[in-house]
Subunit: 497 residues, 2 copies
């Protein structure tokens, strides 16, 4: 074991992993900070669980499988010894660690337990363009409340969080439904086979892409798609297919209120069974609570076609959709679609304790939301200005340069001394790369005269773009002013503000 | 491969990993936020590299060793396929990823490149009490400047960061020396063997624990410690041992200024050779820059006994020491000692590119600093108050409760509705566990009278402690007041502020 490889390693991040810096990173941090502020105001406490969980706690795989890494990054914990020990894996979401934490600490937690979490999650998938194996998620969950008001609270808080992150009115909507509506439809239609029900739900999940005809085929015998691939159908009885269809289209009238959607669904003719009736009652309670929380009809809509996270959710389900008109680098329109979602989920805590504990939560992708905001021109431009750069000419005058930097920082202005060994031209280029708003020049003339020259780089750039002639530019020196040394901070502040 | 283990897994975090929440987590986040604000004001940009690096980039181990996991958490990247691929490992610090990033992007980076980073690092070590395998570090580095002013800047910024994190005057000191002082001493004494020099440096590193006599033994033949263990010495020539001793004690006069320490070291009689003279000149330049940056003599001291990170650093070295008098949970005095450090390090970028790039940096442990601040009673108490809790009595009055919660939140007051199904007594206990400052009661009487009852829980606790008699407590109802419903927000605000 040596400390150095014999050949020089190639400098590159692992496949599917990305470095984040500058404007993008600042934008993501701003989202997290603003959403955290909202979530804490709503009474959700911060929690950070470790990157690793024991594999059995994640419940995603068994270590004796051929590929223990499938879907997650896993390793055997030797705990610093030579003996291989238990399998551990990096978390692939924030929900499984929450369930473990809640089970481990249930006796001493305040109940219901509200917490939010953010941070990286890891997926061991085949990397591809725009497909990362590490990305940030931000979750909020309430564990231990079966009240519909808990679902409403999560939804309303999600709306406020997205607004705080930078989304304006009408730029997003959370669509809500209830998984038990389909339970009721299937119960009423005598469809009891679990595989058949799951296949049918997966068909419904494709409604927004395939339309009614495509879903009808998938609920029945099957569907041949344009590429020639055949997907086997759920083979529901035709009466049930009809009921599902009637259900799906029941609330398509534009402009329906949440209560209006519930009315339309109830009147659609399909029997929803006991589970479906319970679902409608829950949604009605959620609507009342949302209204009490001043959540507008445009912000949160009921939509019976939402069937999210099939095996995971057991009641209310939510999906947050971006309505932004966004453009990519080449000016092409981009549809972002779903930015997050959640719902009421079956007892993950019971996996550990055997004790049933209801829970509900909402999650969104931080990087994904940041990309969407950036594409929509709502990035973090103002927060990403570089520091003011003080130019270095002579070793002997270092004290003067450092004084200028200190004064600017003391005034709350980001500032730095150029610390390389290049000349004036390279230092100006450096300031430009840093995105500096201004450059401070304390040459021999300035120091002798008790003055300072300040270049406003934005003004210089703007003026330079307007002046075709290089000689004219040099003569005019756009954005450059010489002031008394005592006016340094005030002059720079005037440029920045 | 199934989704569920046949038996219920035990709910526990992996060994050496900890959940963080509440006051502790808030305190750590506050440190990171405040230090980040300082570092950005000094012109350092944020950078986040992935959790994983290729093992060859980390340079810590070779994958063909018996224990590829030694010291780091490593796995073979199958990249979503069935074929085992390159070894990856979780970062064990923020410096190795920085070197990889700088090498990868050198052409396009502004140079010198200043960046700061924070986040978890992972060490695959044997877990023990208080010894974690995942912890947060916060680093700042300047890559591409060989100027002593770059070292001074890192040191001065480190001081300001620690102050921003909550350390007061005189609660910490950064001790500075230069690794080349010992290079010079050894050169001058004809000690050229690398192992001998390293052994000698390790001996010097124990000076604060073993004192002059212990170090003398370790520089010579060797040392038998109290437990009977024998450590072989560096076997330096006795003249060199004498020179090192004279060097170590040369600046022990209390109250020496930084310039005074350099004078004392220069006059100590030992020849420092060319490397040592260069080191003194560098330290002198660092002193001038620190003084220009208004860094007091008490905040940053020169101390020739500092020899940090032996194989890693090549010039200036820094060590941040806490001078706090802290107490543990049982009131016992705790010495925290070193909280971080850094220095100028040999070309890590050249590992990749072959091109020499000077760099200097400072790093501290976030959790460690948070523990120290907590033990010193400078925790984040005010930021960790729970939300105001609105009590739930009747389903029918849910609208009234939700209105109260919304009003409080809209006024910027953290508030929540109790969403469990327990009675009044359990709800009061819940509010207590949440650390709530106040509880809002909207019972039938209050609603009928257009009033609201507000309990000040802090006042209640204080008064309850003073009243011995339970009956008297009940009669007095300390901290409880009934006000007009319209005065809800103002009354709660008066309690909180």
């Amino acid at each position: 074991m040596t400390d150095e490889a014999p050949l020089r390693p190639e400098a590159r991040a692992p496949r599917g992993f990305a470095d984040r810096r500058g404007r993008d990173l600042t934008a993501e941090r701003r989202i997290v900070a603003r959403v955290s502020e909202v979530y804490e105001r709503w009474g959700f406490e911060p929690l950070e669980t470790p990157a690793f969980e024991y594999a059995d706690a994640l419940g995603k795989f068994l270590p004796d499988a051929d590929r223990p890494n499938e879907g997650v990054f896993a390793l055997q914990d030797d705990a610093g010894s030579d003996e291989p020990g238990e399998w551990m894996a990096l978390r692939y979401d924030h929900t499984a660690p929450l369930a473990r934490f809640a089970a481990q600490n249930w006796e001493t937690l305040p109940k219901p337990f509200r917490r939010y979490a953010y941070g990286p999650v890891w997926r061991n998938e085949k990397p591809g363009p725009g497909r990362f194996r590490e990305f940030w998620q931000c979750d909020a969950d309430t564990v231990g409340s079966d009240r519909p008001e808990a679902d409403a609270e999560i939804i309303a808080m999600g709306c406020e969080g997205l607004r705080a992150a930078g989304l304006g009115d009408g730029q997003s909507v959370i669509r809500v439904s209830n998984r038990k509506l389909f339970d009721g439809l299937f119960d009423a239609g005598g469809v009891t086979d679990a595989v058949q029900r799951l296949t049918a739900l997966r068909a419904v999940d494709k409604y927004d892409r395939l339309g009614l005809e495509g879903v009808r085929a998938l609920l029945g015998e099957g569907r041949l798609d344009e590429s020639g691939d055949y997907t086997k159908g759920a083979r529901l009885p035709s009466a049930v297919i009809g009921a599902v269809e009637a259900f799906l289209v029941s609330a398509e009238t534009p402009g329906l209120s949440r209560a209006g959607v519930l009315d339309a669904v109830a009147k659609a003719g399909a029997s929803l069974g006991a589970a479906g009736e319970a679902a409608l009652a829950e949604l009605s309670a959620i609507d009342r609570a949302l209204t009490a929380m001043r959540v507008g009809e445009a912000e949160v809509k009921f939509d019976p076609t939402i069937v999210r996270g099939l095996e995971y959710y057991t009641g209310a389900v939510f999906e947050a959709e971006l309505l932004l008109d966004t453009k990519d680098d080449k000016g092409r329109a981009v549809r972002f679609g779903s930015i997050g979602g959640g719902g009421r989920y079956d007892d993950l805590v019971a996996r550990f304790t055997g004790q049933s504990v209801p829970a509900t939560g909402f999650s969104f992708g931080v990087s994904r939301l940041a990309s969407a905001l950036r594409a929509a021109g709502r990035g973090a431009d103002d927060a990403t200005r570089g520091p003011v750069v003080v130019i270095v000419f002579s070793e002997d005058d270092m004290q003067h340069y450092l004084d200028a930097v200190s004064e600017l920082r003391a005034a709350g202005i980001a500032a730095e001394l150029y610390l390389g060994r290049a000349g004036m031209k390279a230092q100006m280029k450096y300031a430009d790369r840093r995105g500096s708003p201004a450059v401070v020049i304390l040459g021999g003339d300035e120091l002798a005269a008790g003055e300072v020259t300040i270049k406003d780089l934005d003004a210089g750039r703007a003026r330079a773009a307007a002046i075709a002639d290089n000689e004219a530019w040099k003569a005019e020196r756009p954005g450059q002013q010489k002031v008394a040394r005592g006016d340094l901070v005030a002059t720079v502040r005037a440029i920045i503000e």
